[in-house]
Symmetry: C2
Subunit: 311 residues, 2 copies
């Protein structure tokens, strides 16, 4: 089954302790769709300006990502973000944000887009996420959000949450959204807001997934070189949703494997700038890292009795 993603297609200027790049392809819909395209067909709803040229378009075409619903605005520029990371790669310091075409973005869905069964609402204004949700008759809708919306648009965010199946956010966002320091309690609370399933991204510590009556956690793939964490969350979501849509199933075992594919795709993404590493992956590389995560997390049952003490 195919996937519809609504989000940003943007340019980023990024500085990390390991390098610096100006004006490279980024945006939530970009990272998401490149990752998901390894599993199934993806259609992008986003808006770009004149600066979205042949080189950028080629990245999507190469992955056979459908840009029919990509809106192009003449005389304006793409959303632009400039950020810097220190040695704690978990924290991005924003140097500049230019909304550009994104300032007045109203996602317009074609008739074909409205019938796509798996939908991912990237991190945009919650009210726009709700409007998109109302236009689709999807089997499964997942969404992302961020601290900015939790702080500035809480009512609209809570409204959006009522209409989705899966929320995919990070650790700090989960705690802030639930106003609860303990993640397990935070998750329980968030599940009362609407989504039946919560996926929590924990960076170098891996990922966790909660439903009312299940819990799953996996450590991250161990990386010695994290080059640029930008887009890791959207790449994770792309791998996760890509696998779910391809499997066309939402049972717990499928969702768990989807978490592993999300982790695998994210682990590749941080190895280079932009989506340079993910877009050139081979199927063998993806399968092999999935198997490695199984190997590094495996342990057997214990059959040894505990100590029986003398009376």
């Amino acid at each position: 089954m195919s996937i519809l993603v609504v989000g940003s297609v943007a340019f980023d200027s990024i500085k990390t302790p390991f390098g610096e790049k100006e004006h490279i392809l980024g945006g939530s819909a970009t990272y998401f769709s490149v990752a998901a395209s390894f599993f199934t067909e993806v259609r992008v709803v986003a808006v770009v300006g004149d600066d979205f040229g042949d080189a950028e378009e080629a990245v999507f075409h190469e992955r056979q990502i459908d840009l029919s619903d990509l809106e192009r605005i003449k005389g304006q520029k793409c959303f632009f973000w400039s950020g810097e990371y220190g040695f704690d790669l978990n924290v991005a310091n924003t140097r500049d944000t230019q909304l550009n075409v994104f300032a007045d973005f109203k996602p317009k869905l074609s008739e074909a887009a409205r019938h796509i069964p798996y939908v991912f609402l990237g991190n945009i204004q919650p009210q726009l996420q709700t409007e998109v949700r109302q236009q689709v008759g999807a089997k499964l809708v997942a969404a992302d959000t961020m601290n900015y919306w939790i702080e500035s648009a809480k009512p609209e965010l809570l409204e959006m949450l009522k209409g989705i199946d899966v929320l995919i956010i990070n650790d700090a966002e989960a705690r802030e959204l639930a106003k609860e320091a303990n993640l397990i309690r935070a998750a329980k609370r968030i599940l009362t807001f609407g989504p039946q399933r919560l996926v929590v991204k924990r960076g170098e510590y891996g990922a966790a997934m909660f439903t009312e009556n299940s819990y799953f956690a996996v450590p991250a793939y161990p990386l010695e070189d994290v080059f640029d964490p930008t887009g890791a969350g959207d790449t994770f979501a792309g791998g996760f949703m890509g696998y779910v849509a391809a499997a066309d199933a939402t049972d717990e075992a499928t969702m768990r494997r989807a978490i592993i594919y999300g982790s695998v795709m994210a682990s590749f993404n941080v190895e280079q700038f932009s989506c340079d590493r993910t877009r050139s992956l081979t199927h063998e590389e993806i399968h092999s890292r999935f198997k490695e995560i199984r190997a590094i997390t495996h342990f057997d049952e214990s059959t040894m009795p505990l100590r029986s003490m003398a009376q």
Copy 2:
């Protein structure tokens, strides 16, 4: 096989957001030995003062922990620590430390103690750890340390590391010891210092284990109520070493199960003050949480092919 532990038997006054207790039994050797006693026989080398009374002694006797090598000093008091935790239970703020009998602690090992095959050197002065190491002919020696020794006694610490098999420390300590922000790189570096195996405790994120050619990671048991984190690390080490000594094996599969038992014991310990929760555990409770960790980390292989794109 039995275990020898060298460390502190102490009193703590602790305040957490959930409660407050004055002068309760604590110390690394206490937490370690109570946890390890569920797996095998344990002998404690430590020093106490007059204030170590019948009630405290009963905790050890009840778990059949051997106190033959416990030194008792008249007219002095036990090591005392007073600390407070905020809502971020990962950070303890020390209010008071009184070394008391611990100021002049020189571990004295009886002939019987020197022949115990599994040894844990709790977090004490590295030079004392080395002196104990030189007196034992153990099959396997594990040790703990802390930021204080990394900062104030680095040469002595590096000397100690040369003589041990397993180092069991937390995330921040590993990064500080290796002077390396990336944990995977930090671990590789620490393994060049002496130990063949490094176990890293990551609090609510679980634990990881490294050797030159293996890596294992497991998330923590999910807890909604972490009441008091004091002693979690030593309890983890006790469960870990207890299982290794009882199994009398050091292959990777055994070590991985030992990590799970360490996690299980630590997860119980934080549910109450002191070792009140661990000392009253049943075998069934321990086995059941082991099985739960297996269940929450399990995922199947994936047999689905990735997307084949049209040429």
